[in-house]
């Protein structure tokens, strides 16, 4: 034995180890990929060897390759093998590899459960430690559920090293298995007062993470933390606790008052910068609730200023970070430091500049918006590096558009800023600018005229923007420009010129979706020109413009983009028709313009979601019973939102109940009347403009549009800044005058208008009477914020009330509990093994049975066929005749695997593991043959002879032996009784022992996962010589994905095709039966239709499947 080991390690010397691999990769710089694939081949060879050291070495190398980006999931099973090595050296390598590459999708991860449990209870603390560390990286919901109890036990381990790890990993367990939080919480709380500082800090860590997401459940712990804070000297713990208090105080203002004093003490006590920083931040957030602490806030801000002015860049950064926190609660106190922040914008460090930008966002007011944006624009010009410039761009837009354009007083200025931004090269945010243009033009009616003129100019200069279309996203603005010009064409002064600009051949180089908008909007333009000309009686000009369209449109008809092509050819036909009518001198303009009648209202993005479901409407009910199962899919209850769609579509459906409509309209009007922002029912914007009294008092600046328009390039926003300043000045003068006159009530359009403070920013009335139309929402929209929350938020599940007493049903599943359940199912996949001892006189008999389905993946060299195997564990704990204290533990693990070469043989691999302290030898395995299934014995031996196991087992060792069985028919599941006899040898002598077991051959174990293409699959189904059967299982809560994985895994199927919640699956038996499945998932049930060349096999398979699924 020892010789063999030495020999093994001598062989091993000449294998590549990790250093060789690393060195090799360095030496093969030019053909690295080739070298690595060669190495992977070597590793595959090494993994096939029995020597665990060789395997560990191979896994070691794989871990390195994984870091370089190579997928090593194929070696998952080998990693588990290394994990289960008895030596710590290998175990550590195995767990490291597992932590790097295992995840929830790794199917063999189920196999690790027992191994991990074993390691967790290992007497060696480092085995336990390494298992915990590994588990923390790849814990899955299943593992969390199965191991939660074991980890809970470890939380009270004698060694602090284990305790702290166990405490910390509980957080991961909670995340994956939220039910464990309540039962584990009392112990977690206990650990806050653990004598070991490491354990204490781990507990604080876990609770802080938990509380960060759902602070309200942890308020009751505040006194405890308060105590900890005043007594602890560990800086890490202090930081965590302070952060925790930061989260708790907003919920409990009284806490804040209590905290102020100790925190101030802490500031005096500690010089440590880290602490100082976080302390300040929290102090600030604490006092936010209390108005009388504004003095201390001022002090803090002063201190922060010193930090920001510090030469250390890190402190400067943290200072700005803290500042942005104060900004949220005390904007006023920060605003006085605007100079400092603007100075930081010039910093060479991007992180600091970004922080400063963030601060700016909160500092703008009506007064300083223009100034700040002007500064930012200068930075945009100077900025090197597109990321920073893009960041600036988004910030400018964010700042301007925040809270519904609250700070913008002059939208002309804003539009010109947007137009200026289009000059940026290589920005990714073209669509953002476009969206802003559209938003402003649609919602601010007064600005449309100006916007249209600017957009027309953009279109005219399209060649500047579109010169390098493919590279940058800025051409997106043309999308907005074209749409605005088309939709609001009545404001266009030189429509002809714009139309021609849109028809330029260069346009065809733009991206497809923009061209499509071009095509659509040139018709709108055309329609309005036509109307103009006809009204003027200029028939010739009208025909000319039609001719122009007919000449130029074909270039779009030839477009490669389908959308453009379709629109263009449709419109071309329309215009040809118009031409015909024109020749006959029929006036057409009215009818053409009618195509685009009506106005589009902005609809809030969430409007559709907020439409309440009318009472009595069941969205899941069928409107018409589906005729048959197969056709039901395309019948979606689409018409539910009919009512909603009608309101937004321009032509009203006549069949709508008139009375109902009228009633609703009335209600809506009433609602809108109460909404100061909602002014839209008036016939035309200009008209209302004049209607409104008091308009004359607002000095509308006569902007000389010709100035910016005649600049050949783009407009200059600076001019607007100057104009705006003048305007404000004038306004102020006027106001002073008016004040003297008094009394003339000025009806400011904004409710925030207020004439008390002369200098207040609210005084600045907007240049235009701006109607900011709020986005339309459906009536009776449910006012809910819930849609802002992510339903998949993993932390939501942890929002659990921790103060309720623990119910019995909430206890953590102990492993026995689950087994008992498994026992109840009469025909579960792997039946527990009956264990009997020959001598019935034992005093304590433990009966522990376990079964666990396991699987592993193997790669067959040439075939793509992947075989899934099933692993079954038989664990018997046997008290032997050796006296009451000796427990003999023997574990059998077996898996059944179809033999591809021989259609009537299966191989059963059995892993024998000796868990006792005695030596086991002369093992013989015998199985009682049935008519159908026989064990393949060596020639000449009788049916009653057992097959000797070719090895002996020292304590703690496991080994594998294979037995071949021949079968006649595979259509039925089989159970074979067997006996394992062996001799137990220890210091006191040796005895003969026997272990009875049952081998379960399920039908699924005769199936071999075989890939199948959908056409072959369809052919197979059509052939008609398959028998059909189906089952339905209710109460399935797992996801469809998971469900399919389960079927694939347990029953050796492969997915042929998957559409939504319907999938077809295929498998083949070793005797060549085809099995096809159609799996459909309903609300919480699953129906499986199966087709198979053998009806018995099919029904047995379906029964097994039902069994598996019903445990889901």
């Amino acid at each position: 034995m020892a010789l063999k080991m030495v020999k093994g390690s001598i062989d091993r010397m000449f294998d590549k180890n990790l250093q060789d691999l690393v060195r090799g990769i360095r030496n093969h710089k030019e053909d690295e990929a080739k070298y690595i694939s060669q190495c992977i081949d070597e590793i595959k060879q090494e993994l096939k060897q029995d020597n665990i050291a060789v395997k560990a070495n191979a896994v070691c190398k794989l871990t390195y390759l994984q870091m370089l980006g190579y997928d090593i999931s194929w070696a998952a099973f080998n990693i588990i093998e290394v994990m289960s090595a008895s030596k710590f050296t290998f175990k550590r390598i195995g767990y490291l590899a597992a932590s790097q590459c295992f995840h929830e999708g790794t199917d063999v991860i189920m196999l690790t459960t027992n191994q991990i449990r074993k390691d967790l209870s290992s007497p060696n603390q480092y085995d336990t430690g390494v298992a915990l560390t590994g588990l923390s990286c790849f814990v899955t919901p299943d593992l969390a559920r199965d191991l939660a109890n074991d980890i809970m036990t470890l939380m009270s381990h004698t060694k602090p090293y284990i305790r702290k790890k166990a405490v910390l990993i509980m957080y991961k367990v909670f995340l994956k298995y939220p039910e464990s939080l309540r039962p584990a919480f009392p112990r977690l709380k206990e650990k806050l007062e653990d004598p070991d500082p490491g354990v204490q800090s781990a507990a604080v860590n876990v609770i802080c993470e938990l509380a960060r997401r759902n602070p309200k459940n942890y308020l009751s712990l505040a006194p405890l933390f308060f105590k900890l804070m005043t007594s602890s000297t560990n800086n890490w713990v202090l930081i965590k606790i302070i952060k925790l208090f930061g989260a708790l105080t907003p919920l409990e203002p009284r806490l804040g008052k209590k905290l102020i004093e100790p925190l101030t003490n802490l500031i005096h006590r500690y010089v440590w910068q880290i602490l100082l920083c976080s302390l300040r931040t929290v102090l600030i957030s604490l006092s936010s609730g209390m108005p009388n602490h504004s003095a201390s806030i001022q002090l803090c801000v002063q201190k922060l200023r010193i930090l920001i002015e510090d030469s250390d860049q890190n402190l400067k950064y943290l200072g700005l970070l803290a500042m942005s926190k104060i900004l949220k609660t005390h904007p006023k106190s920060v605003q006085s430091h605007k100079d400092l922040i603007l100075q930081c914008l010039d910093d060479k460090d991007e992180s600091i500049r970004l922080r400063a930008l963030d601060l700016l966002y909160g500092m703008v007011s009506k007064k300083n918006l223009m100034e700040i944006v002007k500064k930012l624009m200068i930075h945009v010009d100077k900025a090197e590096g597109t990321t920073y410039r893009d960041e600036l761009l988004t910030k400018i837009i964010d700042i301007c558009s925040q809270s519904n354009y609250q700070y913008i007083t002059n939208f002309e200025w804003y539009i010109s800023i947007l137009v200026e931004l289009t000059r940026l090269e290589g920005t990714r945010h073209g669509h953002l600018i476009a969206a802003q243009m559209l938003d402003v033009a649609i919602r601010v009616k007064a600005i449309r005229k100006f916007a249209v003129s600017q957009m027309a100019m953009l279109l005219d200069n399209a060649h500047l923007i579109a010169s390098n279309t493919q590279r940058n996203g800025i051409c997106e603005v043309l999308y907005a420009a074209a749409w605005i010009c088309g939709e609001f064409s009545e404001h266009l002064e030189e429509a002809n010129q714009t139309l021609e600009a849109m028809l330029r051949p260069k346009v065809t180089t733009l991206p497809g979706h923009i061209q499509a908008v071009y095509v659509q909007n040139m018709v709108k333009l055309y329609a309005s020109i036509l109307q103009q000309k006809e009204q003027a009686g200029d028939k010739e000009a009208a025909q000319e413009i039609t001719q122009l369209m007919i000449e130029r449109l074909p270039q779009f008809v030839q477009s490669a983009d389908l959308e453009v092509q379709e629109r263009a050819s449709c419109i071309l036909q329309l215009i040809k028709y118009i031409q015909k009518l024109q020749v006959k001198e029929v006036p057409v303009a009215e009818e053409v313009i009618a195509l685009f009648a009506g106005e589009l209202n902005p609809v809030a993005p969430k409007a559709q979601k907020k439409v309440p479901v009318p009472e009595g409407l069941d969205l899941d009910a069928w409107i018409n019973e589906p005729p048959s199962d197969s056709e039901s899919e395309d019948e979606k209850p689409k018409t539910i939102f009919h009512d909603e769609e009608q309101r937004h579509s321009k032509p009203r459906h006549p069949e709508m109940d008139e009375e109902e409509l009228a009633r609703r309209r009335e209600a809506r009007k009433q609602e809108q009347a109460n909404n100061p922002f909602y002014i839209k029912s008036s016939p035309s914007p200009q008209k209302r403009y004049q209607d409104t009294p008091g308009v004359e008092h607002i000095p509308v600046v006569q902007i000389d549009l010709s100035v910016p328009l005649k600049v050949p390039g783009m407009p200059m926003s600076d001019q607007y800044v100057k104009l705006e300043e003048e305007r404000r000045h004038k306004q102020k003068l006027e106001k002073d005058k008016k004040k003297k006159k008094q009394k003339k009530e000025k009806r400011g359009k904004h409710h925030r208008h207020n004439s008390l403070h002369t200098e207040s920013e609210e005084d600045i009335a907007p240049a235009h009477r701006v109607d900011i139309i709020t986005e339309e929402m459906p009536e009776n929209a449910l006012p809910s914020d819930e849609d802002d929350k992510d339903p998949n938020d993993p932390y939501k599940a942890l929002d659990i009330d921790l103060d309720k007493p623990l119910a019995d049903s909430e206890k953590l599943p102990v492993q026995r509990h689950r087994n008992a359940e498994a026992l109840k199912t009469p025909d579960s996949e792997a039946p527990p093994v009956e264990k009997k001892s020959k001598k019935p006189k034992k005093k304590e008999k433990k009966h522990k049975e376990k079964e666990k389905d396991k699987g592993k993946k193997k790669e067959k060299e040439k075939k793509v066929v992947e075989e899934e195997e099933e692993k079954k564990v038989i664990r018997g704990v046997m008290s032997s005749s050796y006296g009451p204290y000796l427990l003999l533990c023997f574990v059998l693990t077996y898996d059944i695997q179809g033999n591809l070469q021989n259609d009537s043989q299966v191989t059963v691999s059995v892993i024998f593991e000796n868990k006792s302290t005695s030596f086991l030898k002369s093992m013989e395995l015998n199985v009682l043959d049935s008519l159908n299934t026989k064990m393949l014995r060596p020639e000449g031996s009788s049916v009653h002879d057992g097959i000797p196991v070719p090895f002996q087992l020292p304590p703690g060792i496991s080994n594998e032996a294979q037995f071949v069985f021949t079968l006649q028919s595979i259509v039925m599941a089989q159970k074979l009784k067997g006996t394992l006899s062996f001799i137990v040898k220890n210091d006191e002598g040796s005895t003969h022992e026997k272990l009875d077991f049952k081998l379960h051959f399920s039908c699924a174990s005769y199936l071999i996962t075989t890939p199948c293409y959908s056409d072959a699959f369809a052919k197979l189904l059509e052939s008609g010589d398959l028998h059909m059967s189906s089952i339905k299982v209710d109460g399935i809560s797992i996801s469809f994905q998971h469900l399919l994985a389960k079927i694939c895994f347990h029953h050796h199927f492969s997915v042929v095709e998957r559409v939504d919640s319907c999938a077809s699956m295929y498998s083949r038996s070793i005797q060549g039966h085809h099995v096809c499945l159609l799996v459909k998932k309903g609300e919480n049930s699953v129906s499986i239709d199966g087709k198979c060349s053998d009806p018995t096999l099919l029904s047995n398979l379906l029964d097994e499947m039902k069994e598996t699924l019903s445990t889901c």
Partner: protein, 194 residues
């Protein structure tokens, strides 16, 4: 929470990567590339915090890094970690003590650097949360584990170590002295083969 710990060299070649959230191998490489791209273009004397990694986490996330000799040590963390605290962790634990320590170990136990650093990290950070900040405690645990490993290797390990030692012989770069900041560590002499 710490989302990931990355160590790569001046050319962006990963030397160690530890992700505490699941990403596919391709995404992991992209994250490393992106992080390298962000970090490498920064000057030496700017702050050690960085925002803007798009792939990992998003807005709540920060990169905290240190550039040391030829290596970048980067921690991707979310807002619940203290910035200076993590920086301290990198500085004190990983660099000052760990780095010197691990050179020592490469020389004596023929450990591979990557596994050694992984072991330190495992004692320091677990599942994305800081486990232990006391360096003495970490070193004690690591030493105990290595001793255990060495005792396991016993007879069988000797030839492998010998070969490994021979392979390492031509390594010219085993340093005699390590100077980090104002700390100077003398590397012990190589032990003779056992």
């Amino acid at each position: 929470m710490i989302k990931a710990i990355l160590i790569f060299n001046n050319h962006g070649k990963p030397r160690l990567s530890k992700f505490y959230q699941r990403y596919s191998e391709d995404t992991q490489q992209q994250i490393i590339r992106e992080t390298f791209h962000l970090v490498s273009k920064r000057d030496e004397n700017v702050c050690n915090f960085l925002e803007g990694g798009l792939l990992i986490g998003g807005s709540d996330n920060k990169l905290i890094y240190r550039h040391y000799a030829t290596l970048y040590f980067v921690f991707c963390v979310d807002s619940s970690e203290s910035e200076l605290g993590i920086l301290d962790l990198i500085q004190v634990n990983l660099l000052d003590m760990g780095y010197a320590h691990c050179f020592y170990y490469i020389c004596t136990y023929f450990f591979s650097l990557i596994f050694y650093v992984h072991n330190i990290l495992a004692e320091m950070v677990m599942g994305g949360m800081v486990l232990e900040t006391n360096m003495n405690e970490i070193v004690t645990q690591i030493d105990a584990q290595n001793k255990l490993e060495k005792s396991e290797a016993g007879l069988a390990g000797a030839p492998a170590r010998a070969v490994s030692a021979v392979k390492n012989m031509n390594l010219p770069e085993i340093p005699r002295n390590i100077n980090i900041g104002d700390i100077s560590i003398k590397v012990p002499n190589l032990p003779t083969f056992k």
